[in-house]
Every structure is written in C-alpha cells, then in structure tokens.
Symmetry: C2
Subunit: 212 residues, 2 copies
C-alpha cells in the first residue's frame, strides 16, 4: 500500500490519530495487546471505516482477522505524530492563561516542555510561575538557542499578537500556537494553529439554536 | 435553493462561518457595504469556492456580479450561529484556566457570559475572580435557573471531569465545553466540545516532523 505524502493528510485525520494514540496508551497500561479497528472505533467514538481509512494513509498496519498489535500501533502513531522526540516550546504572556499553560500537566505527559516564559510587563519580569522565571523578550534568542526551541505559544492580548508573532519568525521559530483571538500574518512556511475559544462555543450555539 | 438540515452541516463549515462573521464585522466597522466571495476568501485565507459552498448550505445570499451585502450577511450568519441572543454559561474550576476564561474579553464581545463560577475547594469558595464570587457546587441549580444557563464549562483536572459532567447533565445543561484532557461520557443529546491543547500541538509536530 502506498503511503500518502504528509501534506496531503487532512488535519482532521491527524487530530484523530492523536486521539487513537491516547486511547491505545490507556489499553497498553491495561495489558491489552491486540485490538480491532471496530474496538478502537468504539473506544473513541468514530466509525470503524474511519479508523481504517485514517490508518491507511500511512500504510498497512493490521493483520486481517487478527487486528492491530497495540504496542506496534502506538509506536507507529507516536512516530507519525513526531512524538518520538521531546518538543521544547516558549510562551509569551504570563497572565492567567500563561500560568494555566505552564501548569498544564498533559503537555509534559505528551513530551511538550515550556522552556521559557516571557512578558513585556516589567512588574512580572523576574517573578516566577512554578519554577519558571518570567523573562524579558530580549532573552528570547538565548532560550531558543539553548533549548533548540521550534514552537512559540502566544498567550497575549490580540493587539500585541502580530508584533510577537513577527518576533517569533525573526528568531527562527517554525510554529505558533496562537491563543489571541486575531488572525496573525506570517510566512507560509510557518505552521500556525489558532485556539479560538469563542469559535468553539459558536459550534455549540449553532447546534443549540437548532433545538429551541 | 434548498436549505440544508442543521445536523447535516459539517463542523468545519460552522467554524468557518464563525470566522467569516468576525471578518465581516471588521469590514462593517470600516463602512464597507458590499463584498464578493473571493474578497471574503482572501480576507480569511480559504478558497472562494469554499466560501460559496459554505454559504450555500443556508440558501442563496449574494447577488451574481454584485456580491454580498455585508450587513445582511452578518445578520444571517449571526442568526445561523445562534448569536442573535446572549448565552449564559457556568464555569466549574477556579484555577488559572478558570481565571483566564472569566477574564477572556472575546467571550463578552460575542455574547457569551459566564454567570457562575464554581469550585469544590473550600479555600476558594467565597473569594472572587474579578467581580465573580466563587460558589460551591450545590449552588449550581439556583444559578442555572436564575440565568437560564444552557452551557457548562469544565476547567478542572481530568479525574474530576466525569463527576462534574454528570452533575451538569443532572441539572439540565445541554452543552459542555470541556478543557479536561479526558473523554467524558454523556447522553447523546448533550453537545460536547473538547479543547485538548496537546492534540492541537500534535497537528503542529506532525507537520514539523515532516520537515527535519
């Protein structure tokens, strides 16, 4: 079976692979060694055809009539998702959201580490969130170099987002997780994911509005 | 043109409608009155065929060769998304993330109001985030009734998420925005959206892993 080019894989498939890998890790902890696509499907709430289609993008995994080896499949998925290595990130914005991100345990569990926290508020610089000292923005190049950082997180008000995104790009970061509710403009080779909480709520209100 | 059933509309379309509506509101503020699908497309970074397809789910909006009336289109989109009314929400979890959500201005701008903040930590109950007093969970039915709340936000550790989700369902909430990195089980008629930040990062690392 032909393996698809990375750029041709739908984002929704990647999201589901991420969900599958979590579920499989849970099974692995319970000493379950083999699983069928329909069992994965039931466990995560999608159709088994969808599971097979998602995995088929990356070649042939399972054995017909036997299913998937849980351990092998985890190893494949982790590699596909780039999680066979740790990822160092830096965070700009030491407000409530920034503090929530620094203390978000799930990041470390999946191999994501915040290795620098920055703010432009002089009353915050030098103080700490957990054991992370809040740094001024001019320390960014040092941290990027020291920890080989490729991902920047924007947890700042919208009016400051573009300037910091520009700074990320200038300093060689390759990806941005943006919590500011604004579109940032960056070169095409920079990966951007926007976490817009209002938009998520609007998919809810769309559904609720149809009910009453 | 036939208008599609609400349940048949892809979630990705709803998300884009939400993005279009933001963009159009910005144009409206700049006194722009008419716009083509290709201008919307360029403004938000999708193809113009996609814009036309997304809007076509809801009937015929534009005038051929003239484009869309910005004001009319905003009004339609706002109604489709259920944003012609305000939505009261309650929040469980008064930690860093909870505080970030209470202070998230974008919610109010879009008509989302957090009308109750709850925690089970007795050292937090009675204290405030901004002007919101943190309440004990047994006050939930009163707040739901008083503010006609239909949406609950879970900003608590994963191990507590299912119990609070059950409480939401028992108290008649119809939708849950879940920040806990765990799948919650609720009846099928309850709308759930999971905000899993690691999964978003994994769509980034998937792309970066293909680059180096």
């Amino acid at each position: 079976m032909k393996i698809s080019k990375r750029s041709k894989i739908p984002e929704a498939t990647i999201t589901r692979l991420s969900v599958y890998s979590r579920y499989l890790k849970r099974l692995d902890k319970q000493m379950i060694t083999t699983i069928s696509s329909s069992e994965i499907a039931e466990g995560v709430g999608v159709s088994s055809a969808q599971v097979r289609k998602d995995l088929a993008y990356f070649g042939e995994f399972g054995t017909k009539g036997v299913g998937y080896n849980v351990n092998d499949l985890i190893r494949y998925l982790v590699k596909i998702l780039g999680l066979n290595v740790d990822w160092n990130m830096l965070l700009v914005g030491a407000g409530n959201l920034g503090a929530a991100l620094v203390t978000y345990h799930e990041f470390k569990d999946r191999g994501f580490y915040i290795t620098g926290v920055f703010d432009n508020d002089v009353t915050k610089i030098g103080t700490k969130i957990l054991d992370m000292e809040i740094l001024s923005l001019d320390k960014m190049p040092d941290i990027i170099k020291k920890y080989n950082v490729r991902i920047g997180i924007l947890a700042i008000p919208p009016q400051a987002a573009q300037a910091v995104a520009d700074l990320f790009v200038k300093n060689g970061l390759e990806a941005i997780l943006n919590f500011a509710p604004i579109n940032i403009n960056v070169p095409k080779n920079i990966e951007v994911r926007n976490v817009d909480l209002s938009i998520m709520l609007e998919t809810i209100t769309f559904s609720l509005a149809g009910k009453k």
